[in-house]
Subunit: 408 residues, 2 copies
Amino acid sequence: MISVVEARDRILAELAPLPWETVALSAGHGRVLARDAAARVMQPPAAVSAMDGYAVRAVDVAAVPARLKLVGMSRAGEAFAGRLGPGQAVRIFTGAVLPEGADAVVIQEDTEAEGQQPGAIVSVREAAARGRHVREAGFDFQVGQVGIAAGRALTARDIGLAAAMNLPWLEVRRRPRIGVLATGDEIVRPGEPIGPSQIVSSNALALAALIRGSGGETVDLGIARDRVASVAEHAAGARGCDLLVTLGGASVGEHDLVREALAPRGLKLDFWQVAMRPGKPLMFGRVGDIPLLGFPGNPVASLVCGLLFLRPALFRLQGCEGGLPDFRPALLGRDLPANDRREDYMRASAAWRADGQWEVSPFERQDSSNLLRLARADALVVRAPHAPALTAGRPVQALALSGTLGGF
Amino acid sequence: MISVVEARDRILAELAPLPWETVALSAGHGRVLARDAAARVMQPPAAVSAMDGYAVRAVDVAAVPARLKLVGMSRAGEAFAGRLGPGQAVRIFTGAVLPEGADAVVIQEDTEAEGQQPGAIVSVREAAARGRHVREAGFDFQVGQVGIAAGRALTARDIGLAAAMNLPWLEVRRRPRIGVLATGDEIVRPGEPIGPSQIVSSNALALAALIRGSGGETVDLGIARDRVASVAEHAAGARGCDLLVTLGGASVGEHDLVREALAPRGLKLDFWQVAMRPGKPLMFGRVGDIPLLGFPGNPVASLVCGLLFLRPALFRLQGCEGGLPDFRPALLGRDLPANDRREDYMRASAAWRADGQWEVSPFERQDSSNLLRLARADALVVRAPHAPALTAGRPVQALALSGTLGGF
């Protein structure tokens, strides 16, 4: 058995970013940028006012009160056409281009104007140094400046920035296509007739949601029965997928159906057991060109494996650094016994304490068949192999599970 | 001017959850459940084995070593049909139904079997109490038990749970339809011809991404020009929307175009200024039946307003508790001057320190036109009105911005 970290490293080492495709900027949110995005325009395109007020020459308002003559107006979308001369002022609004000759803005609260017609006198009560309330040209970004680096998972803010940089199209990584193949005589889809000794399949649908939430697309390869031929037939549908995930089928009686079914298709196994709980029977290899992740059939185990292995794999396929589970320091809310040789991922409730500390309390019963408890967990508490017993209040590492719309 | 919290409270008080619609379970991820989801099946449907091993009567293995006679097999999907008698054992696999008469499972590592054929002798080396390695019927959930409560934003785990509960369809809140109307003579869409004094519009696209990431759909009402008639014409497209967001147009020269354009359509204003930076000119009201949020035209200000007001509004429309900005304790990475009377949302870099503390460092320049800086910020640091000067290392409240695929 290998460790979780070694397993993940070996999986990620076998995966490379997918090719890119072009999408409209409006479809870019949540995609991963494949090439650096550089600005096509300068922002702002000229020196502009940061406030509503009057564009002036700083020398004219060095001594106040100063009386200036209003010669025009500059507003966003319509600049003042002339040049500001000595003793003159131009009415200006936030974002409007600073007139030629002006080098400062006095805010309107510091002025008094005898009207807004050209020729009106503007009294300025406060001095303004050169550059005061002026945003210089290119202050936000220059032409050619890289605003968003390749590998970034595009946020709403990035979409805004790309728009401002005048990029109507973006080159992003293709969405990874993940074949998901459930196995087992005992499972049926929701809503289908349930025979005796049968239960409703849950992990294929849950993993499809996790895949979607990680930027990928699921190819649903159905439910194979517990026969080698059935597994082989369903697995054939993975052609063209970037990764195949099988669920269960690793220890059906004395058989490993997935290995037997895929051996004739050139299965090369890398590893097949990981020292973790839940999820020990985790297989990784390759079937021809397609990387294969063999997950346990147990729903809780397969979902934890999805978070620890599949989500990072999807990020790697998209050329993105993120996706690794983000374990953080927390304090234990209850005593825990010593751990055995398997890394343990305990489902837990969590809460923020008044002192700002994050407190996590693993559920009493950690049975890996308990899907309701997994769904209600706030956190996974990780315990290293052979970790000693801990009392309440001691520090541990935990991963927050809840909170995000469309999250895990 | 009112406070941010009062503004948000007044907005949310005016919004009610939208009606529900039915979606397939496979489309439920990221939607908000409108009605409690109760299990249609019991899980597990009968007592099942939690391990691979042998189903036994606990009394038969109270004294070990014990010799039992193998009488059959129970595997997932195909239960043992008979009844287990005294001195008998049934080969059993994880998830398989416990045979009638059996009340415990001994794991295979604690046994030795002279073959797997009926009649073979199984030697048991370790005693097993009643219920050992048995998952009782209904241990995960009972028929009729509410597994997921109304108002929950469905995670991947919830989708798995709903599947296991045998729910092929879910009743979820309709996606809020948000009309977004940009205004301004100075803006054009990305890729369109840019005139003198014009810049590329960014906040409508960024807000559309934020809306999508918050469960809503955007109706793009285009860019109105700085004329009352143009704003009125574009705003007419909001018919049937659940909320209208306008961008800019609140102080065009001496005019408030949005108010002037919507007054004939029955605009009722609730408030129009919030004591915050960026984002002071924030308007809330109602145009006929449609709630109206008037955002500043400044991209940074409108995005911060999106996070503080629009995202919570979208959650409210979906009947979901979440969506409020999640400010957390952090430590300042640099000195800050005293704040003025407006609540300040400072763009900041952030990092986790070795001691587990989260350190946030507001950027030196906080100009609200700096979109690149917003896109690269890790956090927003909030400062209360009239907050005193703070030195590096002092505690503040901050909101994490980065990290999620498809996030803000």
